[in-house]
Every structure is written in C-alpha cells, then in structure tokens.
Subunit: 245 residues, 2 copies
C-alpha cells in the first residue's frame, strides 16, 4: 500500500508520500514515491505515485526519458500549461498500459496506478491534479483543495477539519504528518520514511524537501503532541446526556 | 453502506449503529440495524448488522423464528454459552446463504453480511463477537476490545487513541459518537439516526438504548465540541522544525 497527499493553498502547495511498498506481507521494501522535474525560474513540477510499483516506476522512467525531446505531449520541459503537464503523466501511463496491461491481466495482477501532480509554469497558476489509472485526471479547485491516493480513509478526517485555502504551509505540513500518523497506526503497509515537499507559490524554484525518518524529532513531536492533545480534547467535551445507564 | 461499533469494557459493553441503507445513490432509506433478544435476569443479547439488507433482515427474522424452539443450535434462549449464541448467528447466516446465495450470484450481487454480537448469560462472562460472511466468527479479547463492521476506516483512529479496557461506558459512548461523526462526514452512505446501546456488565437486564436523531442535543454537543477541540489540539502542538521554506 501507499499513502500520498497533495494540498493546494493560497501560500503554495504541500506534497507528502510514504515510502513503503509490499508484494505480499513478507516482501516489504522502501522506495521513494516523490519525483521532481524542475527548471528553476521557469517551471516546477512534483509528482507523487501510488499503485503497482513496476507501473509507477515505468511512468517516471518514461517521463524522464521524454524530457527534452521537445514533444509537448511527452516533454514536461516543452508543455505550455499545467493541463498539458497532467496530460504528459496520463500519456506516459497509457504508454505503459499499452505495453504491460495484457501481461498483467494474464497473471491476474490489477493495473492500478495513480498520481498527484503539482506544478507551476512561469506566468501561469500553481495547479494540482490527480491522475487516475486510465490516464484521465481531475484538478483541485473551489472547495476541494486536496487530493489523497493509496490508503486514503484513516487520514481523511483530520484533513477535512483543519485544511482551508488560507492554512499556512507550515500548518498544512503539520496536518499532513498527523494524517500520516493516523494512517500508519492503522495500516502497517504505509510506513516511514516520509518525503515532504513544500513549494511557495510563484517562487518557481525547487520546493523545499525533507525526508523524515521514524525517529525524526519533528515527526515525533507531532505524533506525541497529537496523542496527548486528542485525549485532552476528548475530555474537554463536557455535556451530560442525562442517560440512566 | 453501514457503520457499526461494539466495544467491550471492564464496566460493560457499548454498541452503536447507523440506520442508512442504499441500493444505489438514488435509493436511500432508513432501517434499524440493532436488535436485542433479552430474558431479564437470565440472558442479554444485542446484535448489530452490516451488509446486504435482505440478508441481514433474513438472519434476524430467522433468529426470531427460532426463539423458543429449544434447539441449542438455533434458539438464543436455549444456548448455554456465548460461544453457542455466536454459532446461532452463524447458523442463521449459513441457512440464508443456502437459500439465497445461488440466486444472488446469478444477478452478480455479492453475498456480504457481517455482525457484531454482544451478550451475557447468567453465571457467564460478558462477551463480544464479530461474525463474518461465511458464518465463522472471532471474539474480542486481550488487546483487541472493539470491533467495527461496514465503513470502518474513517472512524478507527479515534477509537485506537481513546478506547482502553478501563474506559467508562459514558466515555466509550462519547468516543463512538465522535467515530460516527468522522465517518458520516466522509461517507454520505452512513447516516443518522444512530442507535446506541449501553449494557452494564452482570446487570442481566436489557441494555440502555437511545436513538439519536441528527439534531439530538448530545450528538450536536459532541460534534461541535470535537470540531473546536481538534482545532485547539492542532494549534497546541508547538514545535518549530526549523525548515527554510
């Protein structure tokens, strides 16, 4: 399994991914699921991936091979909009699908892969997309400013309660870590280290990135602080329902 | 969809269920999913149900028809242990399966049904079981003192953080309502009214039951109190990671 989040805010964008992969519970490994394609001053892209590792790695490899081929359907450095960039991810996924899907089907392996893409081109808006198995995609806008892929449910309630468009980048990162903590507590196939990327809107330079190991002091502070705070919050709700138990 | 919880505590047991059912998003109805079979002073049973409504209703109808037939494989009033009572639920489910599964298969409808059963017989322990589709079951014990069925993920983190064997019945009920609130916010196919049952260990009388409509003052107090408390808890975590964003 996997868990990734992308949050689009007034100040910028926050992406986070775990790094655990498993092929059965007895084959657990660590793989990076966050990839950046930047041209400082001109364009910024970061991608996080979920699904079958051979497929997602294939997509990232193909997108890397396509760089500088100057075909705007393939080359992230040649696209003229974020819509075009999301299409490149979809095109790479469809290319891999063409090659591999039949063989996977023969082995009864699902063709599952999904992506969150954040990016900005000079003169354009910062935008956030989620790309599905079929290569189609949707964009964050209006009331929906975050996307999750992978094991999305355990960590959703905290995002719904905290994240708003005017949440600060630091607070969104903290909220993402709490969301990951809730997920990792419930699903052992989501695990550290966590990769975090924070991009300030219009900066057009590579986002700030950090890899948080399980014993990272900030991750620990958030985890312990949250555990204690939740207990306090729970006991602060004082209302006698007047039930005769 | 459905969401039900059962929590086994030193003080007793708490069961909760929602009441929304849907056959497609354009056929949404309200059905009770909590059923009690009591003989005050002698035995107490409460069952909550998830899955295909025709199957779970069939199981409850059959269990009701079997009452007083004095067959300990079928009659909850004739069983001599909670293990036997869990078997009765499994037997009813297998009986329905025998009759209906083939027809459901023809229509490509999954045979899904699961149950949480709490109960106590005079002279015996209070016990909590979860019964699966196939009529087999597991029992809460040791570190695992709660079960969930239906849409289980959104509401799990709060249970993991708050519920311990020595949690009071009132606190467990409050925690269950928070867990339901998180679930109902994320999945519209889980909805009020909520049925809540609280049984005090060794009382051998019907549990305290209450139906909470969406505008119930206690449900509202918990919901609003929790929303505010979560924000406070989030901002109370003060730790500067020292990132140069």
């Amino acid at each position: 399994m996997t868990y990734c989040i992308g949050v689009l805010l007034d100040e910028g964008v926050v992406l986070a991914s775990d790094s655990r992969t498993n092929a059965g519970i007895d084959r657990v490994s660590t793989f990076r699921k966050m990839f950046s394609f930047d041209k400082p001053g001109e364009r910024f892209f970061t991608l996080v991936t979920a699904g079958n590792l051979s497929l997602t790695q294939g997509v990232v490899s193909l997108m890397t091979e396509w760089l500088n081929n100057e075909n705007p359907d393939q080359d992230l450095y040649a696209v003229t909009s974020m819509f075009g960039a999301a299409r490149v991810v979809g095109n790479a996924l469809r290319e891999i699908h063409k090659v591999d899907a039949g063989y996977l089907q023969q082995q009864e392996v699902d063709f599952t892969a999904s992506f969150i893409l954040a990016g900005q081109l000079k003169g354009g808006q910062l935008r956030l997309f989620m790309i599905y198995d079929a290569g189609n995609f949707i964009e964050a806008m209006g009331d929906t400013i975050y996307f999750q892929i992978g094991e999305v449910k355990y960590g959703k309630p905290i995002l719904d309660r905290i994240i708003h468009h005017d949440t600060s980048l630091n607070d969104a990162a903290k909220c993402a870590l709490i969301s990951f903590d809730s997920t990792m507590r419930s699903n052992v196939s989501v695990g550290p280290p966590l990769d975090l990327m924070i991009y300030r809107r219009d900066s057009l330079k590579p986002g700030f990135t950090v890899r948080l190991e399980d014993d990272d002091p900030y991750l620990q502070a958030v985890r312990e602080g949250w555990g204690g705070a939740i207990h306090k919050a729970f006991h602060d709700i004082v209302h006698d329902p007047g039930w005769d138990i």
